[in-house]
């Protein structure tokens, strides 16, 4: 593909496009012409004579959105290429409508140097399906003690702007404070996995409540999340730094974020599709497919994160795509690995929970799955409006593509898919990275 494309008859997610909700009356149909990876014309266009048939996309009935940006992806390479590679993860991302993914640092070795970050960037570029943006570790080896080479990672070719020890929380308040402070010159952000290890230790794997009591599983209380969010918000305020709350999962956590934002603190937050859609009761059968960190929460928390995503308290949807080999999941529940797949199903879940319920329109989806995460991650080429001059990083969504998820069909190398067997109403039809179709 040369980066030339003619998209005809798409519903454009500008203004307040709301298909398939009643607001779909506002939808604007239009054609988009892409040359050399950039949008050159938008409107009611005539197909240019020089474009071959394969460069024409019939988008009748499809919604055109800016390509999705995932703030939170685990690609497992280097170190666990049996679970996922950058190639397989990139393919899954493209299939999910993503044009950029932030690859978490908890690989082996950990992404805690500029060289390690550049290597991931280069591997991603070589594959070319999605922009793979490395996240840098906050502390060396994710050990939570000494700062990693934050500045060298920021100044590297990878230009790291998001730092995270994800999988672990930066427990030590002094270390967190120094990291927030040190990163100020780079306008970088720390994405914190908010989990007070004294309140929710490494064994904690079930939302603390009646169910964890009945099942005899170590509880993971909401306060272990909200207390760290509150601490980090106040640290960010104190030093003038930027903090991002990874996978907020509780009503209390949302309340703290809302309070911090009202106070003017530079705080942002993300929620995962699984915390939007899946409840703690799924753990009752001890199926490790539903073991994730933070754990699935009760319906009150699900309601709270949905409302917060709708009102903007939560800025972005991020998948926390966490592939695991079968033999790491087929342990007793407390011994099994944390995490579930998410890249390929994110749009379908968000459409069901947020759009089909009327909580968000499609431009709202564009904001939360593209514009906001791109802004948080400092990605200037993603999350842009569908307008002349902008890079053609796009996704075409079919809002009425009823389908049932089959874990066996995944592009991921892993099968820890909590969505297996579920039927959704919307699907990604095609993904376009700088004018090239990366998934169709």
């Amino acid at each position: 593909m040369s980066g030339d494309l003619f998209i005809t008859g798409a519903l454009l997610a500008s203004a307040s496009l709301g298909a398939p909700t009643p607001r779909s009356a506002d939808a604007t149909r239009g054609d988009v012409l892409v040359r050399d990876g950039r949008i050159v014309e938008v409107g009611s266009l005539t197909r240019p004579a020089d474009l071959p048939d394969q460069a024409v996309v019939d988008a009748d009935g499809l919604v055109l959105l800016p390509g999705f940006v995932d703030l939170h992806t685990h690609l497992r390479e280097p170190g666990r290429e049996d679970a996922e590679t950058i190639a397989s993860g990139a393919a899954a991302a493209a299939a999910g409508g993503f044009t950029a993914v932030l690859a978490m640092a908890n690989t082996s070795p950990v992404t805690d140097t500029g060289e390690a970050a550049e290597r991931i960037l280069d591997l991603g570029r070589a594959i070319g399906l999605v922009d793979v943006v490395p996240v840098g570790a906050v502390t060396k080896g994710l050990a939570g003690e000494e700062l990693a080479e934050l500045g060298l990672m920021a100044r590297s070719r990878a230009g790291v702007r998001v730092f995270s020890d994800d999988g672990r929380c930066v427990q030590n308040a002094r270390v967190m404070r120094r990291a927030l402070e040190y990163l100020k010159p780079f306008d970088a952000v720390i994405s914190q996995h908010s989990q007070d290890a004294n309140l929710a230790g490494p064994q904690a794997c079930c939302h603390e409540g009646e169910l964890s009591g009945r099942l005899g599983l170590p509880g993971w209380p909401a306060v272990a999340e909200s207390s760290i969010i509150a601490r980090d918000a106040l640290l960010a305020e104190h030093v003038g730094g930027r903090v991002h709350v990874a996978h907020v999962s509780t009503a209390e956590g949302v309340d703290v974020v809302r309070w911090a934002k009202a106070r003017g603190i530079r705080i942002t937050a993300e929620v995962t599709p699984h915390h939007l859609a899946l409840g703690t009761e799924l753990v009752a059968g001890y199926d490790p497919t539903f073991k994730v960190n933070p754990p699935l929460r009760p319906s009150e928390d699900q309601e709270a994160v949905r409302a917060a995503l709708a009102d903007g308290t939560i800025d972005a949807v991020a998948t926390d795509h966490a592939p695991h080999a079968r033999h790491d999941k087929e342990h007793a529940f407390v011994d099994a690995a944390f995490g579930m797949l998410g890249l390929e199903t994110a749009l379908a879940v968000v459409a069901e929970v947020m759009v089909e319920s009327g909580r968000l329109d499609w431009s709202g989806v564009a904001t939360r799955m593209s514009a906001a995460p791109a802004r948080i991650a400092g990605l200037s080429g993603h999350g842009r409006a569908i307008a002349v001059g902008e890079p053609a990083n796009l996704v075409l969504v079919d809002p009425s593509a009823r389908h049932t998820v089959d874990a066996a069909d995944s592009k991921s190398l892993s099968r820890n898919n909590p969505w297996h067997g579920r039927t959704f109403g919307a699907a990604v039809h095609a993904t376009i990275l700088r004018g090239s179709v990366t998934h169709r």
Binding site: L211, G213, G216, L217, Y286, H327, D328, E330, A332
Partner: protein, 319 residues
Amino acid sequence: MTRHLLSSADLSREQTEAILDTAASMHDVQRRQVKKLPTLRGRTVINFFFEDSTRTRSSFEIAGKWMSADTINLSAKGSSTSKGESLRDTVMTVNAMAVDALVIRHNASGACQQVAQWVDASVINAGDGTHEHPTQALLDAYTLRSRLGSLDGRHVVIVGDLTHSRVFRSNVITLKTLGARVTVVAPPTLMPSGVSAWSAADGFATSWDLDETLYAGDAPDAVMMLRVQRERMSGGFFPTAREYTVGYGMTRPRLERLLSANPEAAILHPGPMNRGLEISADAADSANSLVLDQVSAGVAVRMSVLYHLLAGDGSEAAA
């Protein structure tokens, strides 16, 4: 009868009573010179213990042998790392040998339930983490029935580390199934999370105050003292052993006051006991103590469980 025994909730009242009735017949066998029944001849029972437990393992082993099953003990360390063989691979290796039953003890809650979804054999939960221990609850019920007769309307108090107790979780189910009234007592730090909603849903009472529970007019028919792991103290669940004993131990004065209200009150403990911590020597060795009866009932109850799960063709009887 069910194919597996994973939770005490798998058993209806009728099924629970049938197991206890059969256990009485088994108890007779135990007193004979020839302690062997041909009933499970040709069946293979694997005692698969991922966690050490001499008491429960030997009890299941004797039960299997007295029923003429081929009984084999396997032990494995519960793998808590991703490096070791997965639980599924471990049990599927055994399953491939076409065994009839897997008696599983595991340090992780829910492990037996997971295994039951993978294997062809009947799975019997011999204690899974801090979840359940259904055969212990059955032998406790058997012991109580032998002493008290019907448990309908009887008041049973369970005291101790409820958070980490699989004995409590199974007992509260079995006792309620048999019509008993149950009160559970623990300091707030050893109450399972969400216990207020749970107790309301399942119809048992909770209390932080042992004395109030024992002497508030509704004198218990039985008091079950749970073992307190000394390592809980380092977890900060309570300050000192001394303070625990004062608040929640079956001390001699407490025993005397209990027996003055109900001279027939039974004292149970699933063992092993921390004498002087949760139970005084006076209570453990008193005529009201059923501790040794519990041990003695263990084999008979497990014979009965093996019989009911394995002897038939696996179908539910008509009518």
